[in-house]
Symmetry: C2
Subunit: 409 residues, 2 copies
Amino acid sequence: MHKGNIIVGQSGGPTAVINASLAGVFQGAKDAGINKIYGMCNGVEGLLREEYVDLSDSLSSPDAIELLKRTPSSFLGSCRYKFPNLPEGEAVYRQLFAILEKLDIQCFIYIGGNDSMDTIMKLSAYAESIGSSIRFMGVPKTIDNDLAETDHTPGYGSAAKFVATTMKELVCDSKVYNMDAVAVVELMGRNAGWLTAAAALAGDADCDGADLIYLPERAFDTEDFLSRVDSLRKEKHTLVVAVSEGLKNKNGQYICEEKLKDAKEDAFGHKILNGTAAYLVAQIREKLGIKARDIVLNTTQRCAAHLTSLQDVEEAFAAGKKAVGVALSGHTGEMVRFRRIQDEPYEIQLETYDIRKIANAVKAVPDSWINESGTGMTEEFIRYCRPLIQGEASPVMRNGLPCHLSLRR
Amino acid sequence: MHKGNIIVGQSGGPTAVINASLAGVFQGAKDAGINKIYGMCNGVEGLLREEYVDLSDSLSSPDAIELLKRTPSSFLGSCRYKFPNLPEGEAVYRQLFAILEKLDIQCFIYIGGNDSMDTIMKLSAYAESIGSSIRFMGVPKTIDNDLAETDHTPGYGSAAKFVATTMKELVCDSKVYNMDAVAVVELMGRNAGWLTAAAALAGDADCDGADLIYLPERAFDTEDFLSRVDSLRKEKHTLVVAVSEGLKNKNGQYICEEKLKDAKEDAFGHKILNGTAAYLVAQIREKLGIKARDIVLNTTQRCAAHLTSLQDVEEAFAAGKKAVGVALSGHTGEMVRFRRIQDEPYEIQLETYDIRKIANAVKAVPDSWINESGTGMTEEFIRYCRPLIQGEASPVMRNGLPCHLSLRR
């Protein structure tokens, strides 16, 4: 069988370990004796402009590969490009396949989330329809952990470890003064609360953890929240609350949009003031008269490569390598997925699954893993999440700071 | 000579290494054969309520001392108590000295910033005036690095390392999409720009660093800022800007208060919207029409014990130990300070200095260390700051998360 080249791209929001998957793809292809391993610049969007690199230029040594695994953000750049529907949009498909043929590509690997899996689904279907032998494989990534049909996604473990570590530190910090105060920590995840749920890991022998945890999976009631804060502060001076940026009320409206209602009355602006935590902090100050502070972890959650889970880095790498292996053996239109054998000791199996059952779906946190009052997580969730944050992939330090790999173009 | 006991307290805002100084005090006192080593709960405020602990209960093993050095926030709790002036406020001084005598205290060590050094100044002067032999010594700490008469303060090096690391990661993250975007990162320091200046360390062979850096030491001009952003984005798609929370315009008004002016016109609220970065982001969106995001590192800057500078931890410990040594040898009314011998190889000397020349003063970043346009730091600053972030005090990890020591009361 003719062995062509491989091309790999990264798409959607970055994670701290998305480059470990890229390293895995490169290593897998190299081990298989592939001639050229191309990287798309800014995903399919860049590829359509014929922007790509020969990855060997950047990854000429084992040290470079190790450094890539510890480099945050998407090494190749990313995009949020959605392929058009057929038959109207066929010109774009033709254009892309012409480029792939010019580069003698046999396998196309795409590292991404739900939207990126839509790309794999469409391209593999198109390849089949025109009788092309190019194989299309997806490698999962997202800090949101909301991909369907996989136990979890690479990127989540490291983000969860960063969130839980930061929560422990913030809980410590919150207790420093002897006065009533509430810290509201806003965590990423518009549609699923996996990352906010990770705040529950902070609770341990040496830490009270978050006092209240709110996920977007349950409708949020601001009045109930305020009454809980008010009664909790009678037990303890300082509270730390974790909230998902995507909290919605029972009408399905984002909590951070509730202020629009207030805006007319209180002259609050809505142009900048778009945070769930900022809104809740304003409510606490106004309605309860307690000192409150909003802490928004923002993009640090997806790029804190200085504190990653070794388990996550290794799984991300393995997923990239696996994608190459199965694509070379003839698979197409699939995503690498994780199947959990057991929690303790943690055992996981890599397999592949039909992309059509994964693309565009969102996996929410199971309702049974959220406690009855909707203010915390159950032990089941902790058992699920704990193995994903184990171990540390120590950063490569130079002159006091973590060192990252730069792309050679 | 009669050897009495020692009492130590922590005051003001915490740092990631303030507990390393506490560990140093404990170790120094233990080595000197002191009988009882007390810790004030919530500084002098708690002590006046007779709230204190015997530190041996928490620090019974070398492991516990190592864990304390890696525990963020103020282990003993903190306060912002200001001693009254004499003679009106003498009752409070009498009350405090009665407690100190009851506990047979010979040395009173206070770990804190400018305000806390005011406490040491007042108490040592009062002791002298009543002929008390109790010695009062200050140990510097503050992430703001704004204490006078010392090369730097423990806590700054670790906060600077965290800021520079996070900046590197955010710069990486910012480049992921192929589109115009500005990230404005807001850093702590109301009156001095030391911590914001640390963002300059991010610029290295593998990182462009922050494109613009603004310190409160120079008057900030929003129009000039917008015009710089506008011309820079013609050279590169994505910009990362570091701003101090304490930026002021040429009239001495906080930038984040400029919105009050706009408030009347644009119905922007000022109750929640109190961020410098949030204000600048709104200006960029409105005036330049570019995508912009504000990232506020907030209290994570002072409590990120998972990423501390080993140099800083060791210096904080040494400063605590030194304070005990000099107090036992008869010094009072002084603060431990750092005198730099040379930058490279870095060499520092610990000595003590008259507290009256330190208390209540603020040390700004030298004007000559800020570049001409007021948008970045000079090489001199880099040479000053770089040694302070060297090495890592690896956290003690348990079950995937850093472990902290809890106070036994």
